[in-house]
């Protein structure tokens, strides 16, 4: 595969690994007991485990798996709401495959489907819109999740629905913005992370400029990275070099896809449809100011929560999240240190959302390294 296989070359990886080894054994990094690099993005976590990259890194260099998986941070209450909507006769609830396995207070959407509600997996929000066109007698609700990578797709789909006048289509939108999330992480006094690998695909939308505060205000290096093994190793090398020189800045390893400015059209679409919500609650992260998005008034007719307000009034409060997930998300606990890991909590029967998506720190850890004892 072009533009993929080139970045999986083992010989080049070997060279990067030697460089990394060298940096770690030289002053000043050799003096540190441990260097902690957080890959913010679950896609990076996935690559790391898929190729066993963490096993190849030198002692003292630790990868911390961050909160950058939109599925993992989805609160139970959101699933409960989606199920309540799906339980209305006439409703088809559609979402991405990963969202369907997230546990709600009592069950996941897949389990609700087994009990008879109409839940569909789609590859694209456009496929959900197509469902609405094909089933005019039904109300199609799309459970919209994702960081800025995905929000433009949601927004463009809504713009198309608006243009065509498809009125049996709405969204339960639980989008999350990366910058306020990073900000909250950095403000956490328990955060023990020396540098960041920045999310490549979010950045192709928002560009690299918005990360400046990470290096400027919080003095942490950040390298926006691609998702292939070489991308990650190179990015790790780049943050280590910054740490070695003591000059934190924002760099872009993924220049083939990401520009400093990002994708203007995509950003325009996001802002046309959505505005930041005051404060949003995320699984494991708690309430983060400005991290959620809400429909602008002009588009609130697409807001499934308004359409189904009557139904949702009677929603019971969600059961509280399991505490360890939050610590893992913030990087202060390793997945295996959670007492539920691999026992009550497995990819088959996830307790926390980090066990759901293969991007989730716990699932990746279990799936790709399940044999190691904690």
């Amino acid at each position: 595969m072009q533009l993929v296989d080139e970045f999986r070359d083992p010989a080049l990886a070997q060279a990067l690994l030697s460089r990394i080894d060298q940096l770690m054994t030289q002053t000043p990094l050799a003096e540190r007991e441990v260097v902690r690099v957080m890959e913010v993005c679950g896609g990076h976590t996935h690559t790391i485990f898929r190729y066993g990259l963490d096993q190849l890194l030198p002692q003292g260099l630790e990868l911390v798996h961050g909160p950058g998986c939109p599925v993992c941070v989805l609160p139970r209450a959101c699933i409960d709401t989606a199920i309540a909507m799906a339980q209305q006769s006439d409703v088809i609830l559609a979402s991405f495959g990963d969202a369907l396995r997230v546990p709600g207070s009592h069950k996941s959407l897949l389990q609700a489907r087994a009990e008879g509600v109409d839940v569909r997996t789609v590859y694209s929000p456009l496929d959900a819109l197509e469902l609405a066109r094909k089933h005019p007698e039904k109300e199609v609700v799309f459970l919209a999740i994702g960081f800025e990578t995905t929000i433009p797709a949601t927004a463009m789909t809504l713009i198309q629905a608006e243009q065509e006048g498809v009125d049996n289509f709405s969204m339960l939108a639980r989008h999350i913005s990366i910058i306020p999330t990073l900000q909250a992480l950095l403000d956490d006094p328990e955060l023990a992370v020396d540098a960041f690998i920045g999310p490549g695909h979010v950045s192709m939308v928002i560009g690299t400029a918005p990360y400046q505060f990470v290096s400027q205000r919080y003095q942490r290096p950040l390298v926006v990275s691609g998702f292939e093994p070489l991308d990650l190793l190179q990015s790790i090398h780049m943050v280590l070099e910054q740490l070695a020189t003591g000059q934190p800045k924002v760099e872009n390893q993924y220049a083939r896809v990401v520009s400093e400015a990002g994708n203007a059209q995509a950003c325009v679409a996001i802002h046309a449809l959505f505005e930041p919500a005051q404060s949003s609650e995320w699984r494991g992260l708690g309430a983060i100011e400005g991290s959620g998005l809400q429909f602008r008034t002009a588009f609130s007719h697409f807001d499934a929560e308004q359409r189904f307000a009557a139904v949702l009034q009677s929603e019971p409060a969600a059961t509280p999240e399991y505490a360890c997930c939050g610590e893992v998300l913030r990087g202060s606990l390793k997945p295996r240190a959670c007492p539920l890991f691999g026992r009550e909590c497995t990819p088959e029967h996830p307790v926390g959302a980090l066990m759901v998506s293969s991007e989730g720190a716990c699932a990746a850890c279990y799936q790709y390294r399940g044999d190691e004892t904690p």
Binding site: L3, D9, L12, C41, G43, H201, N263, Q265
Partner: protein, 87 residues
């Protein structure tokens, strides 16, 4: 997060829908996020894009890709040389 995959725009379906080919597989993707006054769908034919949930989200700069790889190859050569020197 955000599974994205590079593909080549091999055909146009409408003025904002294109066929993208990825390792022999074709799928329709929306070009909505790449079009503006300056950019029409025709201009994108033959280009490589990063595809996410059915949308082309970014043009891929193949020269940049080459530059990144060239850098890594250079690094490898230097490593080998220093290894040879050491060995």
């Amino acid at each position: 997060m955000c599974l994205g995959i590079p593909g080549e725009i091999v055909a146009l379906e409408t003025d904002d829908l294109a066929w993208v080919e990825i390792s022999g597989v074709r799928r329709q993707v929306s070009l909505a996020c790449l079009l503006d006054e300056q950019t029409r769908a025709e201009d994108l034919l033959g280009q490589w894009v990063l595809v996410h949930v059915g949308f082309a989200m970014s043009l891929i700069d193949r020269d940049e890709a080459q530059r990144t790889l060239a850098l890594l190859q250079e690094m490898q050569q230097m490593e080998q040389e220093s290894e040879n020197a050491a060995g």
